[in-house]
């Protein structure tokens, strides 16, 4: 599994096995933040950024845990690292770009409990990716997440204008929409395995 080409890994993470629409990771922000196109784009950017950093950290930790032979600490150390990465990124952005910090707002700390980030760290370990492959995987996953979020936000903005029965409004409608979007992404399955 460790010798897949970088372009395949990227396409795989972004389209074929899209984190949101095929693995159901990060559904909470997907349903919660996809109301407006602008916030969806920003959220996608922030998640991609944290994914890249935590993927790098997870790679290092995995090497360390293998070296000291303590695999049972994997989950605990990953979640601690992700939480502290998010905290660190938050402080860093606050210090160097207050405008970006204000734009991201509450979404930044909420990334900690986004299962897509922890899922990414676990998947890349399971697949035995090397450092470059992990980075590309993280980039692909982040871009796939952004893509799903932005597509969904665009659809929902259009739906605001449509007349739907009262009963369907809200989460039920959003889920139906996500189902159709997910079926569309199934079409990419022909691109690879």
């Amino acid at each position: 599994m460790g010798n897949e080409s970088l372009s395949f890994i990227f396409l795989n993470a972004a389209l074929i096995n899209n984190f949101v629409l095929a693995y159901f990771l990060g559904i909470c922000p997907f349903l919660g933040v996809s109301g407006k196109l602008e916030t969806a784009t920003r959220m996608g950017g922030a998640v991609t950024f944290v994914m890249l950093i935590s993927s790098t950290c997870a790679y290092g930790i995995h090497q360390l845990l293998v070296a000291v032979d303590a695999p049972f600490l994997q989950l605990i150390s990953y979640i601690v690292v992700i939480a502290s990465t998010v905290q660190l990124v938050e402080m860093f952005i606050k210090k160097f770009s207050p405008s970006l910090f204000r734009a991201l707002g509450i979404f930044l700390p909420l990334i900690t409990t986004n299962c897509a980030i922890l899922g990414l760290a676990l998947f890349q370990t399971n697949k035995g990716y090397n450092f470059a492959q992990s980075l590309v995987y993280a980039l692909g996953a982040g871009i796939g997440f952004t893509l799903a979020l932005v597509l969904m936000a665009g659809l929902r903005e259009e739906l605001e204008l449509a007349e739907v029965p009262n009963l369907v409004k809200g989460t039920a409608l959003t889920l139906m929409l996500a189902g159709i979007l997910s079926l569309t992404f199934m079409g990419f399955a022909g691109l690879g395995g």
Binding site: F24, I27, C28, F72, I79, C115, L118, G179
Partner: protein, 222 residues
């Protein structure tokens, strides 16, 4: 301090804490929390039950620990502490499932580890266990966990019957049955969940109308 923790609570242990999670405040259908595992592992009834029970175990144990430590944990680092407690129990569950059934462990995959970031568990630790007594927190965790399992089962059974034509691995239909492959695919998860939410919305609306009609007729009699 230790005596204080195990003292009988001022408010008696109420069974309501247990029942509310099953229906009135069901974590999935009413609060719409923890959607990732709900959609991801419910392609068969067995997977749904296993995932539900694993989550229930983590929920109950973390509620117990958080509740008994609630006076010791400093406010500033409480979320980090909760996550650490939850991660510990999830690791326990993961090794437990691996020991019981390797097939099940393979079928659920990374989603066992992902129980850590299930917002239902952190949500209950923060919103309930950190403020309530040990016994009540235990009941709350058990109720919420079983409510979660019930919701998973609702989805899992529907998707398995339609998608594979079986229920818990037992064939239901004669050979000619054409299964709906779409129900097993990720899209089917979204559709089934949407349909259940619609059903519950409809139930709620109907009950509201009935109550309104009842109170109207009540005043009419007076």
């Amino acid at each position: 301090m230790a005596n204080d923790l195990f003292k009988m609570p001022e408010t008696a242990v109420s069974t309501d804490e247990f029942i509310k999670g099953l229906w009135r405040e069901n974590p999935v259908f009413v609060q719409v929390l923890g959607m990732c595992p709900v959609l991801a592992v419910t392609n068969s009834g067995i997977n749904a039950i296993a995932m539900g029970l694993a989550t229930t175990f983590v929920l109950v144990m973390s509620n117990i620990l958080v509740s008994s430590l609630r006076k010791v944990i400093p406010k500033q680092v409480r979320i980090a502490t909760y996550i650490l407690i939850i991660a510990t129990f999830v690791t326990v569950v993961e090794y437990l499932i691996q020991a019981i059934s390797l097939d099940l462990h393979k079928a659920l995959g990374a989603f066992i580890s992902l129980i850590v970031v299930n917002c239902v568990i952190l949500g209950r630790a923060e919103a309930f266990a950190s403020k309530n007594t040990l016994a009540n927190s235990f009941l709350d965790g058990l109720g919420m966990g079983l409510g979660f399992t019930f919701a998973l089962l609702c989805l899992g059974v529907v998707r398995e019957i339609l998608g594979s034509g079986t229920i818990f691995g037992i064939g239901l239909f004669p050979d000619g049955f054409q299964s709906w492959v779409v129900m097993i695919l990720p899209g089917g998860g979204f559709f089934t969940m949407g349909a259940w939410l619609l059903f519950f919305n409809w139930l709620k609306e109907r009950n509201k109308k009935r109550e309104a009609a009842l109170s109207e007729s009540g005043t009419g009699v007076k």
